[in-house]
Symmetry: C4
Subunit: 265 residues, 4 copies
């Protein structure tokens, strides 16, 4: 069966055009539709925003759960987030298998995403990052605390995943489903977890929110480190205040609009 589909190509020059693919697709192939799939557009924007804001460098990734098939998720092929276009987005099942990879290679650590989507039906978007400001907390026994309303979700608690305690000696990478399951277990019901000697994982119910959380987790880490260095008594945002604040599902909407405009330039 030949399935004609169109892809939206967002070039770094800001020019947008259509490319056609006539590849034969397996049954049960990607549920995403034509050229203007807003989920793919947002996923491409999310990649570029996180690179622009310094949350991701050449490494790290962002994924989103498929709307049509909740047992699938979308993630770029193995490449630098800053360069991702719609044509680079692959669909994966919850075992971390690409549905239609063709000649495109997969991120080694895609199991971070697959196992979190499996364990957390409420999660619709996942970021894995190595943001420099988070590494001190990932390696330290000083817990992250919420500094202000823009990072209220931190008040839920940010557990630390130590791969050595979960799986003994490794090269620190989440290379398979078992390591992904161990990370998802440490994450539990929380919005984010740090990974010792590695980085962090951030989850949310939408792309704008997982991008917003990732960006403000970085700001919060720097602010908390600075507050500790001042040497005084610190009053953090408390859990009940944070819960009220987080009831606003569109808390990063205004920021998301600005970020999207900036990466579209």
């Amino acid at each position: 069966m030949t399935n004609r589909r169109q892809f939206l190509i967002a070039c770094s020059s800001g020019i947008v055009f259509l490319a056609q693919s006539t590849s034969a697709l397996p049954q049960g192939g990607p549920a995403r539709g034509g050229a203007s799939d807003p989920l793919i557009e947002d996923l491409v924007a999310g990649n570029r925003i996180l690179a622009m804001e310094g949350v991701l460098d050449a490494m790290g990734h962002i994924s989103v759960r498929s709307t049509a098939r909740p047992d699938r998720f979308l993630l770029a092929r193995s490449m630098a987030p800053e360069l991702v276009t719609a044509a680079d987005i692959l669909e994966y099942d919850l075992d971390g298998n690409a549905v239609d990879a063709r000649d495109r290679t997969s991120y080694l650590e895609r199991f971070i995403h697959s196992e979190i989507y499996r364990a957390r039906p409420d999660v619709r978007a996942v970021v894995h990052c190595h943001t420099a400001s988070l590494i001190p907390f990932a390696d330290s026994d000083v817990p992250m605390r919420a500094m202000y309303h823009m990072a209220a979700f931190v008040a839920e608690g940010v557990p630390v995943f130590d791969i050595r305690k979960a799986a003994g000696l490794t090269d620190l990478l989440v290379r398979d489903a078992n390591l992904g399951k161990a990370l998802a277990k440490t994450l539990g019901p929380k919005p984010a977890a740090l990974m010792r000697g590695h980085g962090a994982v951030v989850v949310a119910a939408s792309i704008p929110n997982v991008v917003g959380r990732s960006i403000y987790l970085d700001v919060n880490a720097k602010a908390q480190a600075q507050a500790i260095a001042l040497g005084g008594k610190i009053t953090y945002v408390e859990a009940d205040e944070a819960k009220l604040r987080m009831s606003d599902a569109g808390e990063y909407a205004r920021a998301w609009d600005l970020w999207k405009r900036k990466v579209a330039r």
Copy 2:
């Protein structure tokens, strides 16, 4: 009654053109005049300068008291400061009601502005920000001190507003006039106040000065944190020195000229 008016549109490309509005205006509508109202021009510039300098990100706002009607103030519609143009400026009364909103939405926290203008006849411009360098001091019991003449106003003292002490459990936002009044009460006669778990408010007698104070409050916070980390004895700018320095009403004039040229590019 049909009231033909013209607005100055300052585009991000730096091109300026005129747009016409023929909307029916209520009696007692905006006192601002034609296309070249310098107050609106400066308010637009202030929005963009604070974004350029990293004092504001997608959130936060700057307002100015109306020259013609001191019981009114001007503030952008709910949007990212970096994108504000003259067409986005609304006029508000001191209850926080937009005079001519049409389909334009208002910032949730406009009561920060309205209640400070009500309580402080000397104040003609207000900035509300979440600058990252201020959050450590907002959450700490270490008071801000003036590090140098560019931030001499800090020597007046920067009180901290804890919304929980003023109003019990909230989502941390200044959502109504009562919360605005509580904040204005903490601010008292000072040039700035920190807001625990949230950010800061800065006031002055003009747009250039409130912008200058906001930018140098950020520099001062970083310098003070660094001075504390050095571990020695610190000699801050003293109140009498600061008072002399602040007698120069145009202390940020040269900087303002530069900043305006930069955002006009």
Copy 3:
């Protein structure tokens, strides 16, 4: 007498053209010559380089001693360094009087320059700055120390000028010759002095060297603060090592070439 002169205008767009001035000049007027005076070119470049590198913001200044008349020095009119062109350069005598100001206003603190040139025949270039990284050391009793060879001159010692100890209550500004003399006295034979609650002054035998010293004084301050925060024992560059290193008069030549190319873009 009408004196036709040409000025080199270095525009921010990088375009260079000639402007003619036919103003009547007093006897003994500026010794600088035609359109391509390399000293003025370097002074303009120095202004822009220090702005580009973040050593100067809208405030602060750089001057150079006149080659033809060592009792004169060149300094921009009162304006932001980033915007200075050759047409903005004024000549001053050692009392801080502009030789040919016409309608151009002078920096209030030009006495920093005049009194240092008077006291220090070896000095041919002076920078006055408020670089944020220097303020913590200017207010602290922790002395600056040389961290590496690029800032070897710091090993000579960086005294702190406290205007209050020299002149009692002021607005912190060096507003007259007496305050300038007091600052020059604290500077003594050193390459730099900090100013409590204010900033710093840096001197050298050439524009490239005073620019290089100003830039690496900033880097050195950040590195020293970070070294102190590590909490271990620090081995600074020693005075005898520094003296050997400083014997190279062209130590910033390669950097100067790069900086000039960058601001010419």
Copy 4:
């Protein structure tokens, strides 16, 4: 004998063209071939990437061992790394003599490279830098430790070279082969060494890896300093984890591709 050769010129505008040289070359001249020598292309890219990422400023250098003649290495003439093109690359023997310098001057400290290539047959690329974040560790007795997998090589240990202990009073520069040998001895079999009062040297088996290590050594230094400032217990990447991670020879391949695209813009 006249030897016609072509050089690849990589302009800062991204335009690439060919230049011809008809200089007479000595027997045993440079082994590098025509216009598209990928090693020279990568060396030029490495210079520009390290400048773009702030690892090098106007000073410092990167070299690569010749593929054809392992007793030779390639290094730019004495200039700012940001401006290096293929025509600026010289070939050196292991005594630090340029094979065909013509009128091009050499870096004073080329002996850092020559003596490391002599002592370490496994090393194929060397960076010498003065990155600001490394200076605090170079001057301190607090050892660098590996914070995360992107800088796993730090777990091998980063010795500190104190030129005073090796050679008594100097101007801190590695001016001759003896000083180069002393540095190489301190480096031993390690991937990097700090230089007290000076900077660092980083080595690897390829240009992408030495560039990657230099960039992430900088990130690691900042993260470690921040972790120490948090005041808690820190769990660093352990040597056995690092060894597993470092077994991936292409660990910086994805980053290298991104960096090369960025400097080619």
